[in-house]
């Protein structure tokens, strides 16, 4: 739909309505299909094809989806997720795009045209990403430890820490305070090198079972736990049990726990190159 000068001066709701295309992802299929009215706000989801790939979209106003209501936003994101899943089922491989990706139309070129131009421009890159993730899914791996348990183990196994712990009991008030600071510093250092060691060990073990890995930022954890690693793993769909078994072993170690989530559409392996 073209936007005439007149609508720019007095924009009518209906005229602005279809001025953008909300993108769910890019499918490994050049078929012109409709997935039905399953989009955000019950919109019809369909594919805009270019050669042998296609953008999965719905028509929307050329402005981002915004709401102050957290629940509304969550529902939108859930729907986005469901549409990506449905598209995967229909078209095989889909490169998921993040929530609220919108291509808008301009006066001289419609939104539909802009989507096609984008597919054309990015064709090589999109195609190689599709090849990369074909037959694979993303899994999240988060490893936590309970610092209390780890510190206890350290106090038992490190002679330096054990000795200092003993000494403090015999010191007068001020000296004991200073020694306790020193003990805490020592424990902190040991914990850091232990975390480093665990990271390297777990990473090598997990790497063997994954096609690709992204190291994500660790997040704050609850219930007195600390997240020591946060990975996104790209895995062949039929090979996730192997990783599951490896993670089980880590989960069994004292003081450690693992959260294994998925399969997700490969969001983390679509951004960047």
């Amino acid at each position: 739909m073209q936007c005439s000068d007149k609508t720019e001066v007095t924009p009518r709701a209906e005229a602005v309505e279809e001025e953008g295309r909300y993108l769910y992802g890019v499918a490994d299929s050049g078929e012109k299909v409709s997935l039905g009215e399953i989009g955000i706000g019950g919109k019809e989801v369909y594919a805009i094809p270019y050669r042998d790939i296609g953008a999965v979209v719905h028509n929307c106003p050329a402005q981002p989806y915004r709401s102050d209501d957290q629940e509304v936003v969550e529902a939108w994101v859930m729907t986005h997720q469901k549409v990506v899943d449905a598209a995967c089922e229909r078209c095989g491989t889909v490169l998921p795009l993040s929530f609220d990706t919108i291509i808008k139309g301009e006066t001289e070129s419609s939104a539909e045209r802009n989507v096609q131009d984008w597919l054309k421009q990015e064709y090589e890159g999109l195609k190689s990403k599709i090849e990369k993730v074909r037959g694979k899914a993303e899994y999240g791996v988060q490893v936590f430890w309970n610092p209390k348990v780890i510190v206890e183990n350290l106090t038992r196994t490190s002679p330096e820490i054990g000795k200092l712990d003993e000494e403090i009991r015999l010191k007068p008030r001020g000296l004991a305070y200073m020694y306790r600071q020193r003990l805490e510093k020592l424990i902190k250092r040991e914990m850091e090198s232990k975390a480093d060691e665990c990271f390297k060990d777990f990473y090598t073990r997990i790497r063997k079972h994954a096609d690709d890995i992204r190291v994500e930022k660790t997040k704050k954890a609850e219930a007195g736990l600390q997240m020591i690693m946060n990975l996104s793993c790209l895995i062949y769909k039929d090979r996730y049990t192997e990783l599951g078994e490896e993670l089980d072993k880590i989960n069994q170690s004292e003081g450690f726990s693992v959260r294994f989530t998925g399969p997700w559409p490969p969001y983390s392996f679509v951004r960047g190159t």
């Binding site: 008030r173 001020g174 000296l175 305070y177 200073m178 600071q181 020193r182 930022k217 960047g272």
Partner: protein
Amino acid sequence: MSVLDIDEKSLKHGVLGLVIALVEVIRDALRLQAMKRMEGGSLTDEEVERLGQALMDLDIAIEGIKEEQGIIESVRSVRDGLDDIVADALDRMINPERWKEEAEQRA
């Protein structure tokens, strides 16, 4: 003319929380210096004892103020905020992956 409507209680919490958080940061720096001198061996046992007592009294005083004024939470949130800023800056400095991400975002 508009009137600034400020909740006196939350203002007090905010300002006091900020002040005490800064005092804590200074206390941490002092403690670090004390530790360095102690480990460097330039202090006698007596001096270490006095330093330790002074720092300990400071700890007790700070904890007392926080409890009395009900600002434990607001101090924590200021310090968490500072920690996050530092963690974020460090993460960006030492992880080449983040440099790449930033370069891509700019492109």
